[in-house]
Amino acid sequence: MASTAVADRPASTKIATQTGDLVARWVAFIFAALVLLIVVVLVFELWQGSQPSRAKFGWGFLTSSAWNPVTEEFGALPFIYGTVITSFVALLISIPLGVGAAVFLSEMAPAGLSNALTFMVELLAAFPSVIYGLLAFLTLVPLMRSYVEPFLKRTLGFLPFFRGPAFGVGYLTASLVLAIMTFPFIISVSRESLLAVPREQREAALALGATKWETTWHIVVPYAKLGIYGSIFLGLARALGETMAVTMVIGNAPEIHASLLSPGYSIASVIANEFAEAATGVRIASLIELGLVLFCLTIIINGIARLLIIATTSKGSKRP
């Protein structure tokens, strides 16, 4: 009698059910559209807000190294340079460290230990960046000034990268902090993609007489390489946009130096430092245009990271 029960249901219930669903669908749709709207408004505001600066400086903004609030001459080059160089040096440190640790966590450590250690490393990613800044400013900077930088000058001073007075603050200190802030991402995502490598790959290599390391380095790591690249780009995106920790240790000088010991500036730092005091006009527009540049940079890097990570996980991974 089930079929008649459905048929006998009053028409009003059916309509009420359908209207309820329709309302729920539209409400949910509006909230989802809100997420889209936020990004559209963000892009619009960055474009609109930077209009005076774009009109005045054009593309020359990106290649000029002037930063003079008095004459209202602004250029982005020292900041782009600082952002890129600190992120690059940070990755030089965090890639070997992160991939090495990920190899240990996925290939050698027992599952329980590996999960516990990964949780600890991921906690590092959850720490607020001002905490990194606090620690770096009050403990790392004096350490760099008194010991590390003089040592680097004594031993590697013949290179152009380690010259000039040791201030403690500068590109190198900022890079070190960024390295600590990026390796949790590299470890976490690399480990996931290493764990997704099929067991047969390892067994085949071991059966052919390869050592554990040869298996890992020649078989497992190449198999997971897209995911590892993805993790690196993810770390890079975080490093490029990092604000507080870098602001506190980079030295805040709008200059370009080859030496990593010199103070510099980054895009995010100059926005953090000058936005509140710059009232209106070309200066604020220049800061917003710097924001636009940073936005584009991180969008591109994040996009690449996403594509790479999707590519590995869709290639027969164990993850849902």
Partner: protein, 280 residues
């Protein structure tokens, strides 16, 4: 000879990878040790109850910053969690391929936008028209950061709910929204709640978007006035030249990190007991 060399390389590289892991994990303990050592020396009752003293003067606390943070994060959660949650429900339950994947992509994009740029957005949307800094504008900035986190977490955990549960409820004659409200969301509630806790913990530590929205304040501030917050206070105290303020920065840092650790460990424990329904 060749074999011995290969074994040597094997042992050397494998231990090197172990060393990398030790360095990575010890970074956590070094950071915590510094915070506990320096912070516990200066964390006292005044810190929680007193207003900041005038520049350079010893003593005082951060009561206004603690309340300010609660206020800003609370407002941000009130705005961000409902929006993020319902958007997440849409992505998981009303998936219409094109629009949903577009929203999914923009949510990820928004998640990757540096926090300082979100601050610029809140500045142009709220501070500029109102012509003054306010706790509310800071809350808007943090809400914008919270929304994509909650959206993606909600979607992810709703997707873990087995299809069979949904079908069972629909087969019994429940309408779709009723199925979502009484079956799908309760089944995924643990994970969704965890996502919200982690999201709120994350925005509670943000300072960059507050620098030129909520700004800072040495006194109590209303919703419509500039407001102090814990992370911004840490920043200004840390870069000041006074030892006593450094001491306070450490104390505030310890308080903030305790909050973050608590949220993360709580979330971990909730999730460790599994999703509310067995996966089938």
């Amino acid at each position: 000879m060749r074999l011995r060399w290969r074994k040597f390389v094997n042992a050397a590289m494998l231990s090197a990878s172990g060393v990398c892991a030790v360095i990575a994990v010890s970074a956590l303990f070094v950071i915590l040790a510094f915070l506990v050592y320096n912070g516990s020396k200066s964390l006292d009752w005044n810190f929680f109850t007193q207003l900041p003293k005038a520049t350079g003067e010893a003593g005082g606390g951060m009561a206004n910053a603690i309340v300010g943070s609660l206020e800003i994060v609370g407002m941000a959660s009130l705005m961000g969690i409902p929006i993020g949650f319902i958007a997440g429900v849409y992505l998981s339950e009303f998936d219409d391929k094109h629009f949903a994947s577009l929203v999914r992509y923009t949510a990820d994009l928004l998640n990757g936008v540096p926090s300082i740029i979100v601050g610029v957005l809140a500045w142009t949307l709220v501070v500029l028209p109102m012509r003054h800094f306010s706790a509310f504008s800071g809350a808007v900035a943090l809400a914008v950061m919270l929304i994509p986190i909650v959206t993606r977490q909600t979607e992810q955990f709703l997707r873990e709910v087995p299809m069979a549960l949904r079908e069972g409820s629909l087969a019994l004659g429940a309408s779709k929204w009723k199925m979502i409200a009484t079956v799908a969301v309760p089944a995924g509630s643990k994970g969704i709640l965890t996502g919200m806790i982690l999201g709120v913990a994350r925005i509670a530590g943000e300072s960059a978007p507050l620098l030129f929205t909520a700004f800072n304040n040495q006194f109590w501030g209303g919703i419509n006035e500039p407001s102090a917050s814990l992370p911004v206070m840490i920043y200004y105290r840390a870069i000041s030249p006074y030892d006593d303020w450094h001491r306070q920065a450490w104390a505030a840092g310890l308080a903030l990190i305790a909050l973050v650790l608590l949220a993360n460990i709580a979330a971990r424990m909730v999730l460790a007991r599994g999703i509310s329904v067995p996966r089938g």
